[in-house]
Point group: C2
Chain length 426, copies 2
């Protein structure tokens, strides 16, 4: 099926700002609470949220085989489970409904009243119930920086890194949508030179600039997915902030990996941008430095040119952009990640989320965490208000944004914005 | 509310073998497919499976506030979310219904025909939809053995181990009930002296003798649970086999922990034995070797005396018990584990599963994995048929059993039995 929704020439009868992340060529999917306190699946064009549940009830999707309640859900999991053919048909149909040359909904004010919401009338929810969340570690620059900081320059990049798309399992229960604040976590830390650990608030709370992809049901227990087939099972992507407490991490992470240093929160942008919408922005990733095993060898343009930035906004002040990076810097692409994840037969389900790992670029201005940007506090970052930041302060808001752009179209992710509250007090 | 269901003097009108794991004092909870292809929540007494959905429809739980469909579910998650008061009331009521002095169901053959099944008429399912699965590493003996094997005797127990109930996140999607076979996984391995990794079947597939506890919804994002309150949120326990591929593990696990070496399968016994049923078997765990931080200090009998054993059964042959251990050997108890898990505000939901980590005891016969029992292959284990085992062979079945016993009652878990199939071929 052709992705007619991607036609760069299409215009919509809805008003869309020129620099919007959500032109009619985007058509992402999300879940929101409406002004009538109903949870529904929707999409977004410009600054309008569109109730797909209502559109379906009004018959606008009648020529696509969909169950009646497919959009009347509080997560996208069932819709995602329907597979790529359905996603594509629905996205094409939405493009058609809102095309400036289609007068059906354009001239039906009554229907518009039912299906269109302004952004201040809705409350975005987590778009999927995350069955399992895996976090990769796929930026060579990030792995090298962190390795140097934690283990010294000699052992910076570990021997397995160029062969294995290293990953670990994260915590699904603490994945939250943009807008939900997070408390500074408490935990065990081992001060330098001390005999035993102390307990208290983390002093080194950090963001991690990541993206995540969301899968459909891919494989039963025992059966791998090939690197060639992997994209068939990727629904779309979101921005992802993998909050981290570096002092807790340093003490706890040997030998089984990060645990409490990470699982207090990870925040995501609420609109899932489909892989289909990202088609025009395909690009090749970095060339392999070492020969990769057969099951990981990937050909062609398997990654995407997505501009990313991170801003810190102290309370009541303007924000400062502290990093500009790009998704294409990642050494391991999503197809390789999914092939690796399933090579042992591990089953992947609809709604699973796979984080990229921190996306650091080649130079300092593109590092994806404060750990790297401030070089573990040695080089504080200057904010626009003149203040310094080594890590994240109480009441700072961290905002990650991302978008793709070419001469004819801009496809964006909006943002994930999360405020760090002081330590929780009972 | 008194746990009247635990009355050791109670007898049932159902036939129960003397050495059954499931006397009327047990009353575990599980999910099964009936002979009529209906999925329901049930319990077990002796060798009878009891359809609680049907019992509820027949009015047997009318004096307990329960929703109509609470047992007509394909997982226990909603029932578990109802909390300890409900679990206790339902368990007490079931004991009453099957008490030999209660003639209501005893003399109603028609109702019995509807609610009672023999074990060969049902198919046990995974009892919960596991939202998140965490695996602890709480046996000092196991951590010491593995540390010695992977890093040498000097660094065997890492500096953080006596302070931190070390844990990592596991994969929920590959948790399977007893009876489902597992394929030997393929993956990357780094042969000694080699320059680069090779790809192929794991040669070192292992079991891990564990137990796991299942939680109810415990805390919202940001709010810790205290060690004193923790048991309030523990529904019950199962036997847990955390399948592991040691060669894959060794190459991939630094720095983020085990991933593909573990997530190809973990198998569980299908009946969840409630913490209430285990009350008579409370005991104290090992004395702390080092002072523990305040949030981890636990008083009194916070663990349970549960006898555990592992048997290997080669295809078509008799089984050999290769390990006998006990849950009480664990250094960190479940209350400490849950307090640690949430101290940073990580939310715990209904149906989450927390593995204990391999439960090794003080002597060689109580080690909980082949890695330890065969000392990484140096000392093969002799099976009853004369064959040797260093790790698990294709078509071996691994069976874990567990039970508590005192003078008046035996409360058991049944078993988790899993066959290792050869590598998957497409």
């Amino acid at each position: 099926m052709t992705i007619t929704a991607n036609d760069p020439k299409r215009k919509t009868w809805l008003e869309v700002a020129k620099d919007s992340d959500f032109p009619i060529q985007n058509i992402p999917f999300g879940v929101f609470l409406t002004r009538d306190d109903i949870i529904t699946i929707g999409t977004r064009i410009g600054d309008f949220a569109i109730d797909l549940g209502a559109l379906h009830q009004l018959g606008y999707f009648d020529d696509i085989p969909l169950t009646d309640d497919i959009f009347l859900q509080d997560t996208l999991n069932d819709f995602i489970a329907d597979g790529r053919k359905t996603w594509r048909a629905v996205r094409n149909k939405i493009a058609e409904i809102f095309d400036e040359n289609n007068s059906t909904l354009k001239e039906n004010k009554e229907h518009q009243r039912i299906v269109l919401f302004t952004l201040d009338e809705i409350e975005m929810q987590l778009p999927v119930q995350v069955g399992d969340y895996t976090d990769f570690y796929s930026s060579k620059e990030h792995a090298t920086n962190v390795g140097e900081l934690f283990r010294g320059k000699e052992d910076a990049l570990l021997p397995n890194w160029l062969h294995v798309p290293v990953a670990y399992h994260g915590r699904s229960s603490s994945i939250i949508p943009s807008g939900i604040p997070v408390h500074r976590p408490k935990g065990q830390k081992m001060p330098k030179g001390s005999e035993s650990p102390i307990f208290g608030p983390s002093r080194l709370v950090d963001f991690e600039l990541e993206m995540a992809f969301i899968t459909t049901a891919a494989n039963p227990l025992g059966e791998p997915i090939s690197v060639e087939d992997a994209e068939e099972y990727i629904f779309g992507m979101v921005l992802f902030n993998d909050w981290s407490a570096r002092d807790i991490q340093k003490w706890e992470y040997v030998p089984l990996g990060p645990f409490l240093a990470k699982n207090f929160a990870s925040s995501v942008s609420p609109w899932i941008v489909t892989l289909d919408a990202l088609e025009p922005f395909r690009t090749e990733g970095p060339k392999p430095v070492k020969k990769q095993l057969d099951y990981l060898q990937s050909k062609g343009k398997k990654t995407f040119d997505i501009n990313l930035e991170v801003a810190i906004q102290p309370e009541g002040k303007e924000e400062t952009v502290v990093s500009k990076s790009n998704f294409k810097y990642l050494y391991w692409n999503m197809s390789q990640q999914l092939a690796h994840h399933t090579i042992n037969g591990c089953p992947v389900n609809s709604g699973d989320m796979m984080g990229s790992g921190t996306i650091s670029g080649p130079d300092e201005s593109s590092f994806g965490s404060m750990l790297e940007l401030s070089w573990n506090g040695e080089k504080p970052i200057k904010l626009n208000d003149g203040e310094d930041r080594k890590f994240i302060n109480d009441n700072d808001t961290v905002i990650i944004r991302g978008h793709c752009e070419n001469k004819s179209v801009r496809i964006g992710f909006g943002e994930v914005s999360t405020k760090l509250l002081p330590v929780y007090k009972a």
